[in-house]
Symmetry: D2
Subunit: 154 residues, 4 copies
Amino acid sequence: MSGGPYVAVVGSGVATGELYEKAREVGRLVAKRGGTVVCGGLSGVMEAAALGATKAGGTAIGILPDEDRRRANEYLTYSIVTGTGHARNLAVVCSGDVIVAVGGEYGTLSEIGLALKLGRPVVSLESWDLGEYVIATSSPEEAAEEAFRILRKG
Amino acid sequence: MSGGPYVAVVGSGVATGELYEKAREVGRLVAKRGGTVVCGGLSGVMEAAALGATKAGGTAIGILPDEDRRRANEYLTYSIVTGTGHARNLAVVCSGDVIVAVGGEYGTLSEIGLALKLGRPVVSLESWDLGEYVIATSSPEEAAEEAFRILRKG
Amino acid sequence: MSGGPYVAVVGSGVATGELYEKAREVGRLVAKRGGTVVCGGLSGVMEAAALGATKAGGTAIGILPDEDRRRANEYLTYSIVTGTGHARNLAVVCSGDVIVAVGGEYGTLSEIGLALKLGRPVVSLESWDLGEYVIATSSPEEAAEEAFRILRKG
Amino acid sequence: MSGGPYVAVVGSGVATGELYEKAREVGRLVAKRGGTVVCGGLSGVMEAAALGATKAGGTAIGILPDEDRRRANEYLTYSIVTGTGHARNLAVVCSGDVIVAVGGEYGTLSEIGLALKLGRPVVSLESWDLGEYVIATSSPEEAAEEAFRILRKG
């Protein structure tokens, strides 16, 4: 399979300070381990993960909700334009071999729900507390480690 | 606006016994109050809500994930066929002026997330515990009452 | 199967004069024959077909592209809100047991393509000239007759 | 804007012999001119375009209809998994700055319709005859040349 493994990084479109840094670090660590970051392509956590991945020499693909790529963040290697609004969340989740949720608002909750529905494993970092359904971690390092531990198991 | 108010009843495709009865009662009470039930059109909670609504003389519209209506439950008044898989969850949520989550598995979690993202109010009955983000109720009567209280406020 | 047969009436969102009248007549004739009209829910041919169907005592369901039903035309019996933009064209087509294209611009062309892809029969009235792939008709009466001839054959 | 320009190559999932070679040549010429190929990710024209692009050192991104990437052709650089069935056609079209239709069956017709609806220019090579709405060409060279002439104009 080409281009993988794919790590979907999901989270709020608004993220500053510490949360932005954590998402960036997740993106960086995913790239360092050879993973491709897929995300929603906009700002906040999506932008931070793309920035982290591409600054580390990796690839970040943004999957946008609009009908054009004008709102794509500037750090993406490639952008995919779905034209289907929030239904693009399904594409982000389906495209990830594993999902890492960083922080997160309501859209992130919908993505975690879809991921679980589809049987994709979810690693969470300061995201929704959903008990045993997600793998809670407390740092970008631990999140990346858990994600790749899952990928190795297949 | 024609056909409304619309109450989206979401929940697991597998429901038996008490949960099925509760979903049926929610459907019945929505119809009795003049609401139109929209749901995912398949089995479990979706079927129970449609059964309750239509037996009470109301209308239930199922919004299906497949490319044809073969899996539609038999109690729907009308079925809509989206052809977009789990992206039909977005259509169910968008179509509800209020969302009532009855029980619920992962798909329901994704629907609650989408509803909150879109600013649709969510009433929950034995569903995901998401704190203050949803209006938790303990009976079909209370769920229907809360749903219509919200609709009256507009 | 409840609510059917379903006749999807597709066509331009801008229609006036003769074309509007023809779409209205198609809606009326579908309703008179016991069919449910499904359409894209907006203006032009979609509005005309809904008007024709509901004035004749029938049912018209609009499947909207937006995240809310504000742009729904006023003649719909029910409106479904997909939130998926032009991907709602797929839902309109999937929901029709037969498709009637009245006039038509580019979106209509995409709907005819999807219908053919999915094996749904297409009756055309002053729409795209696609040779033997669609059943060309020259009046609303002929279009409705052809649509129901197809439905009877199953 | 990163990763572009993007050329969406659309066409039948079944293509052999001459048509396959032509699609491969289109992919190769797009890559040679610095474009990124986006396609539906499956077999036939989609596979041929990906093969042509990646063998020439370029990038091909496949946008798949399924919920996983198992059916992705082996020549893609990256695969995006939408989970939305034929609604992924909208994503393919939205992702292209220009669309090149090679041969083509019904799905291709729907993609041309969506492209025109969205204002994306369409170059056709042995595809649907739609008069002045598409730019008809008679060889892969001419198709690639026309596509990049359009891209230069912006």
